[in-house]
Amino acid sequence: MRDEKAVGSRSQEPEARSQNETPALPTGRPVIGRPVGEAGVSAAASSTVRRLASGFRRLASSFCPLPSAYCLLARFSPRPSALSPLLLLLLLGGCARERREFRPQGAQGPPVAQSELTPGAPAPTPPTRNQAEESAYDLNEGKRLFQQYNCSGCHAQGGGGMGPPLMDDKWLYGSDPANVFQTVVEGRPNGMPSFRQKIPNGQVWQLVGYVRSLSGQLPKDVSPTRDDHMSAHPSEQRSQQRGPVNSGPSKSEEMPR
């Protein structure tokens, strides 16, 4: 998905990293309560495929972001592009995890509007890519915001309280990052408020990533570790992967197909 040419061209302006694949929401597609998989078997299979795909994506994404030495060389070398092939080899190891993006391009974009109306039959939704889920820094920010924005007030530390638990395998409104994003931005019935315009999109994506890490949906090496508070549960990096089972709120709210 990223060829060498793309990397080479990036090297001329190492900082202007395009936030391609900003996890644009699959607008116009019903995501609420969409049952996953036709049968249990295919659900498991698709989960495996998804994990594999995410592994490849992570590998590919490791080409990208401002590795220190690369950045230094690009800054001081008269012809940085000449160094690219060599550095590429070095960069294969994976560094999306260490990315720290402070001015993400997508963060200031218009809030994602969603409509549940769609012409024709709903097409299958490809899983959304949330770049914040690849960066340990973003996830850690998500964890901080989860506390500071008082998500814990209703969801406790993920264990649930007034709001549903986030550590288990049940996803009322879907486990895809896009679903969670929508849940935060739009709110949901029975108490989940809408944070539209209240939380900048970049931070929502960080929160989305963190919420998904609570039930072990993310690789352990990016998931947050314990913080310096009382520990209510094992840290996110040590939580077992649960599900996901996209249960839907109830039969009656399920979308007609």
Binding site: R75, E98, H229
Partner: protein, 688 residues
Amino acid sequence: MSAAETEEAARAAEARRAETELARNPDLAARKVRADRRELDEAADRRALERTWASGRGLWAWLTTTNHKDISARYIITAFVFFLLGGVEAAVMRLQLARPENGVLGPDLYNQVFTMHGTTMMFLFAVPIMEGIGLYLVPLMIGTRNVAFPRMNAYGYFAYLFGGLFLYVSFFLHTGPDAGWFAYVPLSGPGYSPGKRVDVWAQMITFTEIAALVGAIEIVVTVFKQRAPGMTLNRVPLFVWTQVISSFMIIFGMPAVMLASSFLASDRLIDTHFFNPAEGGDALLYQHVFWFFGHPEVYIIFLPALGFVSAIVAAFARRKVFGYTAMVLSLIATAFLGFGLWVHHMFATPLPQLGQSFFTGASMMIAIPSGVQIFCWLATLWGGKLRLKTPLLFVLGFVAIFTLGGLTGVMLAAVPLDLQVHDTYFVVAHFHYVLIGGAVFPLFGAFYYWAPKFMGRMLSERAGRWNFWLMFVGFNLVFFPMHQLGLKGMPRRVYTYLPETGWGDLNLLASLGALLLTAGVAVFLGNYLWARRAGEVAGDNPWHAPGLEWATASPPPAYNFVYLPTVQGRYAVWESDADAPVVVGLKTDCREVLVTHVLDAAPGHRYQLPGPSIWPLLVALATAAAFAPGIFTPWAFAVGAVLAFLALFGWFWSDPKSGNEPGRAAQPAPPAPQLEPTPRARPLEEGA
């Protein structure tokens, strides 16, 4: 008591003393039998030794060698490469700080770069290069053929190399640690340093730890058990003393940082709570454990440099160093006091004042042994006949810079002053004066002094002077203004500063000085590369220096000495006469060394050292397999432990005596070494 009686008693005592001395001192006894060196077939012995001690050529030999000089050369070169990398990082930082609100580096990268600089210089450059030089020279200086545990020595180097590579590969993958070389929790803890950056730091510590401890044990055992006959403990060269003492400091200090980094790693990886105040941990605990190592670390780096200075001063002042006993006692006092003043790094923390006062006292007290040593060297210079060559120039530069650094150190010991200048550029200036002045200048002096021994050729004297003056002026330009910056309130570890603070001009000056300093190091590199090919051929002892290392060829053969020398005084070469006895009777068809007694270096028995072996490399690889992936999963340690067990199994199983060399297995196994003590002067009697 009358005068005559007193005289009589004194005479009797003198006679008794001479008698005991003769009985106790093997070389005096040996002198009576006077080995005649001409009767020995030196050429044949040399050939046999060449065959036995040869490391071989090619990649396999490179990987398996256990020769202390090969391994030390690697240590020195690797550490110097890290020095250059750390220097580049420093230069980039100076570029960033040259102007206020400069944009060369962003905060994320700057924090990684300054962490890498500190970590590289402390763990990958300073300690290894001091140990590397020690491991090269100590066996030569004490007159033996190899270090005590040659395979462990090889293992230490590989562990160090893997640790360094691990850190730098991570840095190139944008995973460079960014919490400072000290990695204070909670900033370095799980909550505030997401990702694997700090884990890389913590594991790298473990690697270099292992290497440092291994090297320290090598040096201590080698010096205590393998000194040439006659080199009693009070004849041990000052250089060797510094190596032994700093090795002891490593043995006591390094485990503390290993503890700190392991606690940190387990807090980060498996959710322990050593440093989490909410669960009963303590963030300050980390600082205590870290600085219990961190302060002795400074002396670990600095003591060997004092050894360089003593060696250079003696050689170029053409006289013995003034106050040998005072020097040795000062070194030992420094080592003891060095463990008792770590809290002066923590004066700003909420610790009780009474407790802090003790550490003020201890911190000031350590100025006394340092002062004694400086005074002794100055006395030596005063009483000598100076040859003002490059090594001595570096020593004079050392005296100037280190004295200044020591005096600012006394200032830092006072709690009130420390409260103002702690964590400012004043401290940056102070410890660069102490570490560059106290360790790097002597190190460059040592390079000039021992280069003829290392490579058989002299470095250019002319380039050496350029090197010295560029470094000296550049160094002072970089770091002197920092004192002032600190007093004017500039904190350390800031990636930029605002124009209205008024720090711009001094910072610009410092950055310009960095150019000179860089030029100085570049001149050294050029000089070295030039001298390797075209330098004047040195001969055995170009400086007419006193150490035993000059009593053999340059560069030394793999077996160091054809016949192990005996020693008649502290300045072995100066004090030995042409027909001094040598040790004979050691086997030449296997790697045999002479083991002597700790205090009086009387010959004890012969001992066979192992030859080349691949196992150290494999054990190091197993170590790497445990620690490097250990930042991702604790299971790596289980896997690594199994691998290490297997590799160690091979290590202990393989017959060290066979040398593992192809073709050697066919030869009859050499007879077992004599384990019972050889009669005192036995090896010396052969020629009688």
